[in-house]
């Protein structure tokens, strides 16, 4: 065990105050699954943690029939156990199921997942597809950021000095929305995505046409991102494998993955296309 400073604010304002004062010296602690690894790298001794878990406003998942508000401290397991998440936001549930291992899911929080801002986050593509709003509290009060504006680069986001992510709001998708989340890795579990994708399709009622498609990709760029051009390609188009292949090709071109020990950039890019095609096809009701 190594010594480090530990602070335990009881309210959000107290936490914001501490964080603002100790910027760079102390970090908010949620589930700790990323933070402990960061500390191993940068050293425990010089740094402190601000435990967020005693702050009541950050917990709980609420659904009023239109908006789902997910407290930043909600764990991935809590999302999975919540039947309203499963029913109304099934793509988020699929993403949650694909994250880590049972032990990690029990600790990992949705807020921590976003604040870590890993390009390979599994929850981010689903939240991008649902057009989540991120609610942030800081020294200047509360502000709201669309999830597609939240990430700024690997490990970087819009959080400013003293700011804490407090909750995530999701609007109920229009009835009939379909979707899928797919993750590709070397293993079936305990895996960091080489590519992941979340897609949502809103079909034109009573036809084979697509009204709106949303396609989000992870692990193939500096941040998780929406493949706008691919989405535009599908808007108003017929649903079907040829169209999905076309859209997947566009999405693939938007991918700018890196080469590393996990996979080559070429393979990741190739798989971005395959995964988008398969996710669209699966959402549409086909098998993969």
């Amino acid at each position: 065990m190594q010594n480090f400073n530990y602070l335990e604010p009881g309210s959000l304002w107290e936490a914001v105050g501490i964080l603002e004062g100790l910027e760079g010296k102390a970090f908010p602690l949620a589930g700790g699954t990323d933070l402990v690894r960061t500390f191993k790298r940068i050293g425990f001794r010089e740094h402190g943690v601000i435990n967020l878990k005693k702050i009541p406003e950050l917990s709980g998942v609420k659904f009023d029939g239109q908006v789902m508000s997910i407290g930043a401290l909600s764990t991935v397991s809590e999302l999975l156990a919540n039947s309203e998440v499963d029913e109304h936001f099934p793509v988020l549930a699929q993403a949650a199921r694909a994250l880590g291992t049972p032990q990690i899911r029990n600790l990992a929080t949705i807020g921590g997942n976003l604040c870590t801002s890993s390009p390979a986050s599994d929850l981010a593509p689903a939240l991008l597809a649902y057009q989540a709003k991120i609610i942030i509290t800081g020294p200047n009060g509360e502000r709201e950021v669309a999830v597609n504006e939240f990430f700024k680069g690997p490990g970087q986001n819009v959080l400013d000095r003293g700011e804490i992510l407090t909750r995530i709001d999701l609007n109920l998708p229009v009835p009939g929305t379909i979707g899928a989340f797919l993750k590709h890795g070397v293993r079936k579990s305990h895996e960091i995505a080489l590519v992941n994708t979340a897609v949502l399709i809103i079909p034109v009622r009573g036809s084979d046409k697509i009204a709106v498609a949303r396609i989000a990709l992870g692990a193939v760029g500096p941040t998780p991102f929406r493949a706008w051009q691919a989405e535009e390609q599908l808007a108003g188009a017929e649903g079907g494998l040829p169209q999905f292949e076309e859209a997947a090709k566009i999405a693939q071109e938007l991918a700018s993955p890196i080469d590393d020990v996990r996979a080559s950039a070429d393979y990741r890019k190739h798989m971005a296309g395959v995964l988008v095609k398969r996710a669209l096809f699966q959402a549409w009701g086909g098998k993969v």
Binding site: Q2, S189, V261, A263, M271
Partner: protein, 768 residues
């Protein structure tokens, strides 16, 4: 067979303590005033240490010992756990700490301090100046004419082992076709649950040092550690608590000498526990090998010549490697009969972490190459892949080239038959039937997923004789309550050997399994000399000594019973703790009563049987593994759907333990085939995946259905006919998977692991 205890699925002797979390592993232990040890590791793959200054570290409060090359005995040693034997080529090129670093992670200084934080700070305070040398990260670079020398060996070749039988040139001339292929297998780690490298050392007032260590080889580690420290063997005492998996990684000295030297210098107990990362960085892995196979064959499938040139990457220190080249040749020689065989094995130094033992000891490497090529040969000649193997493997009664001894028993043919039926070989190899089946099940011809079946065979050892000594010792003492202690240097590292040996003792004594207690902890001050856990030897070699010790005790027991019952000892039998007259079973006396009389009757004595000897032989075991895979031609992903593993293990002393060994090994075998590879940056030599995020061992969810078939072709010389099983489960797996992939999509990948990227590249090449 009619055994009472042997062949039964009794619970393991260590099951309760392990599943309840009560077992105390070395890392769980503590002693009063215990210090924490830490090792300073090289950031460079190859560098001379120009200056090292420990002044600041030494003056940090709480630091009790700081060691560098200056402080270690100038006695070169070799960490490999070998007994001095004909087959042991032990190049002594290591010191406890080095003055020239040869891989990233090489230990150059060590500290002992009151706590971990102080120890880490002390490491940071050690100033080192390096003269960086080029990092030789592959064998080609290391063997280049102008390559710098890692040790003194010219061109960094530590040894060359040539073996010639007959005349291969003639053999190739006699062949109808000659095949030549190059195979490469990567560096992979054992990754036992307990990281490798956990030792706690405590010096005493009499010049001795006790080391609790997570080892496979208590006695050999005692000897090597004593040698490295400049002590006499008996001045070191090794205690081996439960071990959290080993798979070869603890087959020799790991960090015991560092822990011991720190403890001696500090005059206090020291715990030296490697992290997961250190256990990747600084402990021995499986050997990467480049194998060039040249095989001449007649159209009818008769081999005329077989040749292997193998380049074995031993890493930065010799340890096992020059000796390891022997079994590598042995596996190749013994698999298939041919009048002409030639092997050239080169052992090469590189600036990677030294290699050592990993389950199979060279056999998985060789079998991958040999069985891949045999599959290609069968396909090219239009021969049945099963037939070509049945025709050419050596059988019972023939000479086994590995040992030059006659094969005692061989269950391979039966295994091939039963496993091929279980996987549905006939139907699945028939492409037409397969297509119809697929269509019938709604799988369209343009589906990206293609299925195939493949198989591979292997043979393995039950010890390392005659290359290495296989001494074991056992003492059986019968207590006054009629229950028995089995004193044995129990080097069980999770494989279940302690359980099997207890069953052997109980069977021989005629006692219930529950009434025999093996020493769960090995202690070199207590148990007789034993080689340890290597070469799948515990059941066969340990079992031999245990059975004889039990028989010696039983003889004395029956002699006394014969006096009491007034019948000749030859007419008596023992079962379930009761001694009976064979013809008159109602005349009986309990073992407890006889033993009590022995202790407290007219001549007080305890009935003890003791034996120390080598087992009579080394019977080979066999396996045929059949695999069904599904290859996704769009993603390149290979999914193993089912593995059928038929293993001839001799008598299965405990079938549940045997099946566990096979299934666990198959998990490692699939990892070897598909996902595992320890990688270095080619320029700097820095490891790229010394962690569980990026070193991909398979999880429970990745495991396919595994069906094990036990073929019990009992040996003549083994205890109750036992042979071995510890290593063999993973030996054939990678080759079987590669062959199934070939069957599915017609691509032959000659380099493990079979990653999706390699699959896609091969598919593209085939398409063009």
């Amino acid at each position: 067979m009619g055994y009472a205890v042997v062949g039964q699925r009794v619970p393991r002797v260590d099951a309760r303590e392990k599943v309840s979390g009560r077992a105390l592993f070395t890392g769980d232990m503590t002693l009063p005033h215990m210090l924490v040890g830490k090792v300073l590791r090289s950031p460079y793959a190859h560098a001379q240490i120009v200056r090292i200054d420990t002044t600041k570290a030494r003056s940090l409060p709480g630091v009790k010992a700081v060691l560098t090359f200056e402080d270690v005995p100038k006695i070169p040693w070799n960490s490999a756990g070998f007994p001095p034997s004909p087959g042991a080529i032990l190049m002594e090129d290591q010191y406890i700490l080095t003055d020239k670093v040869r891989y990233v992670g090489d230990g150059l200084a060590a500290v002992a301090a009151v706590d971990e934080e102080t120890a880490n700070r002390a490491l940071e305070l050690i100033e080192v100046e390096y003269e960086v040398l080029p990092a030789l990260m592959d064998m080609e670079a290391a063997m280049a004419e102008d390559a710098p020398l890692i040790h003194a060996a010219p061109q960094n070749v530590m040894a060359h082992m040539p073996i010639v039988i007959g005349d291969v040139d003639q053999g190739f001339a006699d062949a109808d076709i000659v095949f030549e292929d190059t195979y490469y297998v990567p560096k992979v780690y054992q990754v036992s649950m307990e990281p490798c490298g956990v030792a706690m050392a405590a010096p005493d007032m009499d010049g001795r040092v006790t080391i609790w260590t997570s080892t496979q080889m208590p006695h050999l580690v005692r000897g090597i550690t004593a040698h490295a420290l400049g002590l006499s063997t008996s001045q070191v005492r090794i205690i081996k608590p439960p071990v959290g998996g080993a798979f070869g990684s603890r087959l020799g000295v790991v960090n015991e000498p560092i822990a011991a030297l720190l403890a001696i210098k500090a005059g206090k107990p020291v715990m030296l526990k490697y992290s997961r990362e250190e256990s990747f960085l600084a402990t021995e892995s499986r050997h990467p090998i480049k194998m060039i196979l040249k095989t001449g064959i007649k159209k009818d499938g008769t081999f005329t010549a077989r040749q292997m040139t193998a380049y074995i990457d031993g890493g930065a220190y010799a340890t096992h490697t020059p000796s390891f080249a022997g079994p590598v040749a042995g596996w190749f020689l013994a698999m298939y009969k041919s009048p002409n065989i030639k092997v050239d094995n080169y052992s090469v130094y590189t600036n990677s972490t030294q290699c050592g033992a990993f389950r199979g000891y060279g056999n998985p490497q060789v079998v991958f190459a040999v069985e891949s090529q045999v599959d290609d040969i069968a396909a090219a000649l239009g021969l049945d892949p099963l037939e070509i193997r049945l025709k050419n493997h050596p059988c019972a009664g023939e000479v086994w080239m590995w040992s030059s001894w006659v094969i005692e028993s061989c269950g391979l043919d039966e295994g091939i038959k039963r496993a091929s039926e279980a996987i549905g070989w006939g139907e699945k190899r028939n492409k037409q039937e397969r297509l119809e089946y697929a269509q019938g099940n709604g799988i369209t011809a343009d589906s990206t997923k293609k299925r195939g079946v493949g198989m591979a065979y292997m043979m393995h050892v039950s010890g390392a004789r005659p290359m290495l000594h296989e001494t074991s010792a056992a003492v059986v003492k019968i207590n006054e309550d009629g229950k028995a202690n089995l004193i044995y240097s129990n080097s069980d590292c999770g494989q279940g050997a302690g359980t099997a040996l207890t069953q052997v003792a109980a069977e021989e004594l005629g006692l219930n399994y529950e009434d025999v207690f093996i020493t769960k902890t090995a202690d070199t001050d207590v148990a007789g000399f034993d080689i340890g856990s290597h070469a799948s030897r515990q059941a066969y070699s340990g079992g031999n000594a245990v059975k004889k010790a039990a028989a010696a005790a039983k003889e004395k027991l029956l002699a006394m019973a014969s006096e009491i019952l007034e019948v000749p000892a030859a007419d008596l039998e023992v079962a379930e703790g009761m001694i009976r007259v064979r013809q008159e079973p109602e005349r009986e006396i309990s073992v407890a009563e006889v033993s009590h009389k022995a202790h407290f009757g007219s001549h007080g004595h305890q009935i003890i049987g003791a034996v120390s000897e080598e087992p009579p032989g080394n019977p080979p075991v066999y396996a045929a593994q059949f695999v069904e895979v599904e290859v996704d031609t769009e993603t390149g992903v290979i999914e193993v759907l089912k593995v059928v593993a038929a293993h001839d293990v001799g008598t299965a002393i405990n079938p549940a333990v045997v099946e566990g060994q096979i299934e666990g090994a198959i998990q490692q075998g699939i990892g070897y085939a598909l996902t595992e590879e320890y990688r270095y940056h080619p320029g700097t030599g820095k490891p790229l995946n010394a962690n569980f995020t990026d070193y991909k061992i398979l999880t429970a969810v990745d495991m396919p259905e595994v069906e094990t078939i036990l073929v019990e072709a009992s040996s003549e010389s083994g205890p109750f006919g036992a042979k071995s099983v510890g290593e063999s489960g993973l030996v054939a797996t990678a080759a079987a998977i590669a062959n199934a992939v070939y069957d599915a999509v017609g691509i032959r990948i000659k380099e493990l692991p079979l990653t999706p990227e390699k699959v896609l590249a091969a598919l593209e090449q085939k398409g063009n």
